[in-house]
Symmetry: C2
Subunit: 359 residues, 2 copies
């Protein structure tokens, strides 16, 4: 498979490494910084370097755009303009509404792998970065089913777990599970630095901070080149989450002021329970079951199916599309982990009006 | 050395394991839960179990009290009442003012190891839990120098880095580097759970959350048996920190609302710089230099010396006290890492009025 990567940083470089190692792909890299491209070449993350987006995507079957969120619409549009008619173009940006709204092309599928955080740059790229990682995809009504399936299989080949989600839900959820944690880490690190400097201890040794502080501030001050765009492009959802956090903090403070031991305990116990459920929910699993559904071969159908299962919390582990000879209709095979999930998937696909069987 | 551990959980159990393995200590355990004591015995964290505090400390040379912060004053007092005249008694509580204020005995030194967080209970105890970990000690004017030195050496033998600090500063700093991170983790996990449940995705699979969320919420909902007391006993310092966090969050929100890219970038870059300095400050190091100071053999002198160096950010890696035969005066040897720190320590000790040399 021939892959183009536009923007070869931590994510783009890891895509290149994994695609070359695991899929035997030929990877062409391009980007804004020639020094990064040379490092990517030296590390084996790309086979060759192209000077322009046009040159990089000319014969590609799949294009990954890994530039800062604010630049995505223009780079994705440039890639689509130069890419072949049957090439899938995706991006790896941390917010999805802006780019998905800006692009109207059946070859485009928005994407976002949940991987990488503390480090940046191609020098930290790893072939196993995506192993087991959720990789959100945001197909729309206009998305080509054939190209969506190709991308899904590619990501599965990179070790990731592709999950379909609509762009709006993605951004709302990421505001609380990623962007707010980054904001809190920044606040905490700044506040701790000021507090420690204000004490009798001189700034040159700010005292040990312990494991909880290290964990809580690991992502503090992540690269502004990437994060200013993320914060701004999701600022409506993020400011709502910040307001809610302020409100919750105010309530904890009140309970503490009143030395209300029962309320503090109830609040803490509830957090323990929330954490337990969140961790539990991450554990997918069970043996794989195959479903085969007959679907019309038109844009949006595979997207609809993937989104519907995503909404129901049913994860598609792997996917294969077998178009009919006349391209008017085809069969999609879905592999679902767990007996119960497979049954639920069968129900849902059936409710969408597609004949479905477990072979 | 004969050690008693009162309350054999993660910390108490790890003290027992490390003391037995590394110091050949005989460890007696006691506590409120006989099931924990039996598990501690089975794991080899203690040599024997005593039914009462009195029995446990009867022939001890050092006592570690590891009960919840709210119970510390009564348990420490009980240990002191029953312990021999030359036995050092310490605790491992996460807040220090309450217990230090409650206890007036030259054999007592408040303590707090910065280790352990996500897990609790003796089943997670490890002999290497304290390796390289800061272990705060809060001696006072009344503290016996001989017993402080014994405790310092013991902790060094467990793998920890003992650092003297006054109880007030300890609690103020821990409010921001430990208690506030726990509060933020609780807030974040609760808020994320509510947001994810409110979406179209059902609670049974709350979607992947990514590495930044896992890091940020690792300590969420830590055991209420321990943490309600910690929060309440430090509520004055903690509510100030919560108020400051609310204020900082409000300012970030305002910059986002105004889509003020320059302000968001400046804020994020400042956090990166704060994090860099905080990380850098944790790296002690350099070769060890020995200092020898002549000190009068009376309570408070070693504490004064340790606190003075602690305030100056000079870490005492190891310490040994050689009392004169008539016990009226003695020599304390201090090992300090790094040429510059050693010079600074020499200055400070000299300024305190004690003759000091580098042998």
């Amino acid at each position: 498979v021939r892959i183009a990567v536009i923007g070869v940083g931590l994510i783009g470089g890891s895509i290149g490494l994994a695609a070359r190692e695991r899929l035997g792909a030929t990877v062409t890299g391009t980007g804004r910084q020639s020094s990064s491209l040379q490092r990517a070449l030296a590390r084996g993350a790309v086979d060759r370097v192209a000077d322009t987006v046009e040159e990089a995507v000319a014969d590609a079957e799949a294009v990954f755009v890994g530039v800062p969120v604010g630049l995505l619409p223009s780079y994705v549009a440039a890639a689509l303009a130069a890419a072949p008619a049957d090439c899938v173009v995706t991006d790896v940006g941390s917010t999805k509404r802006a780019v998905v709204t800006a692009i109207d092309d059946q070859r485009f599928v928005g994407g976002h792998p949940l991987a990488g955080a503390e480090t940046a740059g191609v020098e930290h790229a790893r072939a196993d970065l995506f192993d087991g990682a959720t990789w959100y995809l945001t197909p729309t009504d206009g998305t080509s089913g054939m190209l969506y399936e190709r991308l899904h299989r590619l990501l599965h080949g990179l070790g990731a777990r592709p999950v379909a989600i609509d762009a709006e839900t993605h951004d709302r959820i990421l505001a609380v599970v990623s962007h707010l944690p980054h904001v809190l880490a920044n606040v905490l690190v700044a506040q701790a630095a000021r507090t420690l400097e204000a004490g009798p201890h001189p700034p040159q040794r700010l005292l040990a901070t312990g494991p909880s502080f290290r964990d809580a501030t690991r992502v503090a001050g992540a690269s502004s080149d990437i994060w200013t765009d993320i914060y701004l492009s999701n600022r409506d959802a993020l400011t709502l989450q910040i307001d809610e956090a302020i409100d919750r903090l105010g309530r904890v403070r009140d309970a503490l002021r009143e030395a209300d031991s029962a309320r503090v305990t109830a609040w803490n116990d509830a957090a323990a329970e929330d954490r337990r459920r969140l961790l539990e929910s991450q554990l997918a699993g069970g043996p794989l079951f195959e479903l085969r559904a007959s679907v019309p071969n038109r844009p949006g159908v595979i997207a609809q199916l993937a989104l519907e299962l995503g909404r129901a919390g049913v994860n598609i582990t792997d996917m294969a599309l077998y178009p009919a000879d006349d391209m008017s209709e085809g069969v999609v095979a879905l592999w679902i982990a767990g007996e119960q999930n497979a049954r639920r998937a069968q129900e849902l696909v059936s409710q969408l009006g597609f004949p479905v069987a477990r072979p």
